[in-house]
């Protein structure tokens, strides 16, 4: 399972809306809100795209950030606003029900085909009305032709990079070898400094900008050409978001007049008051603070596509003062605070991340979006930051049945026991939330990048496993995925891949049959890995140069101290004092390590198969070679704390980490090694032929830093140890490794089970691994294991005093255990 941690069951429940019941005290309101959208199909909303395009048509030749601010103003004054029935928070970026937005500036060149296929495509289909489809095809797509980032990227890539990125015959088709993701979203995951918006308000932000504008020296060209447009844009953006909130205020008052139910009438009046107040002025209550944040978050969605992840930052920190003072005055109680938070989660559940391009949608299957909320960790002084609101978030997660938000708990060596236990209890009772991020690994890495202690301590989880330091981080370009399965195939076939026939894809490293030793073969592999890295870094260099010509973020910039100070848009290639951390992903780490181990063992050491015969078997996708395949599968594999395979995996990691470290300087930003596939290991696997670890052609690659499917026979402790062992910790160019651990529900049962889960989490923390999330194995997993035993060889069924591999059991007993497990859940 990728990132999201959607257990199949949850995913089904959410998409079908089947049988979700709210159990908290305010359940009737929440249930009604949920029922209002649960059956709606995600719909394409084109209003944002229409007004954005209309505005852009009239602003040619102006500075980009100003054009963007004008477009946002146009959107703020024109799009439909809604007050949803029963809701306490308002502000949506699109139509009622579940909706996705179009960002034509990004990949508008795909819009025509998207409009035709949106409803029928296999992955994440969307409903689109005839009028909307027509608007996309007739109005929007034609304007953007030749102006999109995607087309700009294609035009700017050197030929050899282009060739490995896109199909040269059809540049709209991805090759899935060194895959760019920069054209799928305008920015990497991002987290705003919501605290600033909540505490100061946009009126103050605007006044600051206007004041500075008045003081500019009109004779200074920099003041005139760089600072002035920036400041004007910040002021205009502030007006835009204030206007948008104000339209909600007016509508709420209007609705309150017509409302017959007195309690709802009072609620609507209160909404009217709050929307007139925030985000224009500083928030004074928990409710106002949340509404202010929600307006910023939703306006950010209208501004640009920040992937699936506009993160919420450290909510238990910046909301705490409001929560505390409201509790003291009796303005709110814990249940009331939870109800407001849950109103926000329900709003989140309705925004669906819409990918237009075929590659984008394949990388992010299942309507994935994850708005991280960070809790715990340390404060800017380095002291533990857990407070009463932290515990409220955990309690809320245990009660709230949808998988929004994506709760992320920071863990450090002085995290209080109560916190660790409540985190463990939440993991156990929910389906694995929260995910865990380790301060003991993250903080030192941030320090190594030049962050101050307070900034490093104050990081927020952003995106699936990444972290951000608000007001310090400045890197926004989405980064490439590198296909490590392809690297193995290229090394075996002298730079060629089965899927692409005789075409030379990378470079010729020699016919594999001619290699006399493992060292020779590994040298060929290393050359292939390095070649893919080379192309990835070139690609990213181009993206980095390009992005400021295509994107601007007045809202993101207004909420970033460094942008304000330097009068530069957040997308600028360089911002003074900013810390630029990008990353690249190795996809199929386990698949590659196991394949290399299988070659080393069986071809060069045991000699049970010649390189020629192995290649023949791979070329036939193992048809007629099942016995060989079985031997390959049983070779040493990554994830079992086995030094044989792990030392090879560490070499793969070393090539990438040392490469990144060497060339970061000339890039001008850090490119860190990461292992986070989202769902890209599936499409990247589709282009890779059979591999020497026994994986058949087209099958997905291994996921993140996890073992290959079914290869982890030694249980969760070994997976953690293998991860620890294969990191090159002497290099600072490393980032997260996505780590999914499956646990049997019975292993976390009772107080004893909880204690053991806490103990496991502490060991993970002490091993200084970046990320961890748990899957409590559910019925569906066992069902799948029954149908596809090969991928689940490592699945142990554990009962006291007895254990067996699930796949070894008879069908009847498997059915038996599936039933039992269901009872245990």
């Amino acid at each position: 399972m990728p990132i999201l941690h959607l257990s199949p069951q949850e995913e089904k429940l959410i998409q079908s809306g089947g049988g979700i019941a709210f159990s908290s005290k305010s359940h009737s309101r929440l249930q009604k809100i949920y029922d209002s959208f649960k059956d709606s199909k995600p719909a394409v909303d084109v209003q944002r795209a229409i007004y954005f395009t209309e505005s852009f048509k009239t602003t040619h030749g102006q500075p980009l950030i100003l054009r963007w601010a004008k477009a946002l103003y146009r959107i703020a004054e024109s799009i439909d606003v809604f007050i949803d029935e029963h809701q306490l928070l308002v502000g949506r970026a699109g139509c009622q029900g579940k909706y996705g937005l179009i960002y034509p500036e990004l990949d508008g060149c795909f819009l025509e085909s998207f409009a035709k296929q949106a409803q029928t495509r296999l992955e994440s289909p969307f409903y689109i009305s005839n009028e909307s489809a027509e608007a996309l095809i007739e109005e929007i797509a034609p304007y953007w032709r030749g102006k999109t980032f995607y087309e700009g990227l294609v035009a700017s890539l050197p030929e050899d990079v282009l060739k490995i990125t896109f199909d040269p015959a059809d540049v709209f088709t991805s090759r899935y070898i060194v895959n760019e993701t920069a054209s799928m979203r305008s920015a990497l995951q991002w987290v705003h400094d919501y605290k600033k918006g909540i505490e100061r308000g946009f009126e103050a932000i605007k006044q600051d900008a206007l004041e500075e504008l008045r003081e500019l020296d009109e004779f200074d060209p920099k003041d005139a050409l760089e600072k002035a447009p920036f400041l004007e844009a910040v002021a205009l953006l502030s007006d835009a978001i204030i206007l948008w909130a104000d339209r909600h205020s007016k509508l709420a008052y209007e609705k309150s007049e017509a409302e017959s139910d007195p309690s709802r009438r009072a609620e609507l009046r209160k909404i009217g008051e709050i929307c007139a107040r925030v985000p224009r002025y500083p928030a004074r209550s928990f409710h106002e603070a949340l509404q202010s944040q929600w307006f910023m978050q939703m306006f950010s969605r209208l501004e640009q596509k920040t992937g699936a992840t506009i993160s919420n930052g450290r909510m238990d920190q910046y909301l705490y003062p409001y929560f505390k003072s409201d509790l003291e005055t009796g303005a709110i109680d814990a249940e009331g605070a939870k109800e407001l938070l849950q109103c926000m989660w329900l709003g989140m559940a309705q925004y669906i991340d819409l990918y237009v391009s075929p590659a984008g949608v394949r990388f992010n299957e299942g309507y994935a979006h994850w708005e991280a909320v960070t809790i715990g960790g340390v404060d800017r002084e380095g002291n533990d930051a857990v407070n009463e609101l932290t515990y409220l978030f955990l309690e809320d997660k245990r009660e709230f049945p949808l998988n929004y938000p994506d709760l992320a708990a920071r863990i450090h060596s002085r995290s209080p026991e109560r916190y660790l236990y409540e985190v463990a209890e939440t993991i156990r009772e929910g389906s694995g939330f929260p995910k865990l991020i380790n301060d003991e690994e993250v903080v030192p890495i941030l320090l190594s990048k030049g962050a101050s202690f307070p900034d490093a301590y104050d990081y927020a989880v952003s995106g699936c496993t990444e972290v951000r330091m608000p007001n310090r981080d400045t890197y926004t370009s989405p980064c490439p995925y590198i296909n490590m399965g392809a690297a193995v195939e290229l090394a075996l076939n002298n730079g060629r891949m089965k899927k692409y026939g005789d075409e030379l894809i990378s470079l010729e490293t020699g016919e594999a049959e001619s290699f006399k030793s493992w060292d020779e073969f590994f040298a060929a592999f290393a050359a292939q890995e390095k070649y893919l890295l080379r192309q990835a870094f070139r690609q990213q260099y181009a993206v980095h140069q390009l992005r400021e010509k295509y994107f601007a973020s007045p809202l993101g910039s207004a909420l970033h101290e460094l942008c304000i100070r330097s009068h530069k848009d957040l997308h600028s290639a360089h911002i003074a004092d900013g810390i630029d951390i990008g990353y690249f992903d190795l996809i199929g780490f386990g698949s590659a390590a196991d394949s290399l181990a299988a070659i080393k063992k069986n071809v060069f050491e045991r000699g049970i198969v010649s390189m020629g015969e192995l290649k023949e078997a791979l070329s036939n996708d193992f048809r007629g070679y099942e016995a060989l395949r079985q031997r390959l599968i049983s070779s040493p594999s990554y994830g079992n704390n086995d030094p044989y395979a792990d030392s090879i995996a560490k070499e793969i990691d070393f090539i990438a980490a040392s490469y990144a470290s060497k060339y970061a300087k000339s890039l001008g930003f850090d490119m860190d090694l990461r292992y986070v596939p989202v769902t890209s290991h599936i499409p990247l696997g589709k282009v890779v032929g059979a591999l020497p670890n026994g994986r058949k052609s087209g099958v997905f690659l291994s996921d993140g830093a996890s073992a290959s499917h079914g290869a982890d026979a030694n249980g969760p402790t070994s997976i953690l140890l293998s991860n620890s062992r294969t990191k090159n910790t002497a290099y600072k160019n490393r980032a997260s490794r996505l780590l999914n651990i499956k646990l049997n529900p019975s292993s976390v049962k009772g107080y004893d089970g909880l204690r053991k889960l806490v103990s496991f989490i502490k060991s993970w923390r002490d091993l200084k691994l970046w990320h961890l999330q748990f899957n409590i194995i559910n019925q569906e997993t066992l069902e799948k294991a029954r149908k596809d035993p090969e991928s689940y060889r490592g699945l142990l069924v554990r009962v006291a005093g007895y254990s067996a591999y699930f796949v070894d059991l008879t069908p009847d007993l498997q059915a038996d255990i599936i039933m039992r497990t269901q009872h245990q859940m």
């Binding site: 395949r629 070994s718 053991k756 103990s759 060991s763 069924v797 005093g801 007895y802 070894d808 007993l813």
Partner: protein, 293 residues
Amino acid sequence: MIFSIQRYCLHDGPGIRTTVFLKGCPLRCAWCSNPESQNFWPELAWSEAGCIKCGACLRELPGVSALGERGIQIIRETPADPDAVREACPSGALHFFGERKTVQEILDAAEADSIFYGSDGGLTLSGGEPFAQPEFALALLREAKARRIHTAAETCGFVSWDALYEAGRLLDFLIYDIKSLNEALLKSQTGGLLEVSLENFKRFKKAFKPLPVLVRTPVIPGFNDSLLEIEKIVEFLAPFEGVSYELLKYHRFAGAKYKALGRPVPYPENFDEEAYGYRFDRLEDFVKKAAPL
């Protein structure tokens, strides 16, 4: 001689543990869920589910012959060479239960996981019956202590007092099986003598008062799944201090292992799971109320 080392064990003593299963047991419980643990020697097994029917074993191994559609037949009396079997069978469907490992190898495996042990996790010896190989078991415990690893063992109690006494000096935790206090039934269903088990238990508790002991009873339908049986055990345990008590639920997962070993599967055809589950829950409720700790 062991048959398995398992990491991340959560049910074999306190904390997160590594359990090493020693092969060989003095008892022959009719319901045994680890049939591969009973004999003291390596045993060849064939798992039908894992077999790819490539025929390599028929060609390369003596004592293996084809049985048509039904798979293969193993002449178990023919001594097979483990290395030859590993060479011959690509999928591992034909494999050995049981291998010789040194004390060093086993403790190295345990120590690799030591970061997970925390303050109370560690190494557990299980089986079979670990103290049926007393020298080996004691050497393992001694080495674990030398490496500062928390120790636990799981015993059926049908072992020599000397071994148990020596173990007591090296153990931090003991799991002790008491299956029934019905002498005749115990003899007929497990082959064990009640007196040996109870005497060992009493002596152990006397010699090692502060050492925590977890007593476990597998609740077997038609054998001891009655309130009367469990009550007797709870009563017997009442005077002892530092003893906790737990019931284990009966299951029939081991059918595949019996088949792999070429033995008849001992489970009754008509097993009313629902009725048993209900009975078990009742017994567990009783134990929770009545038992120490």
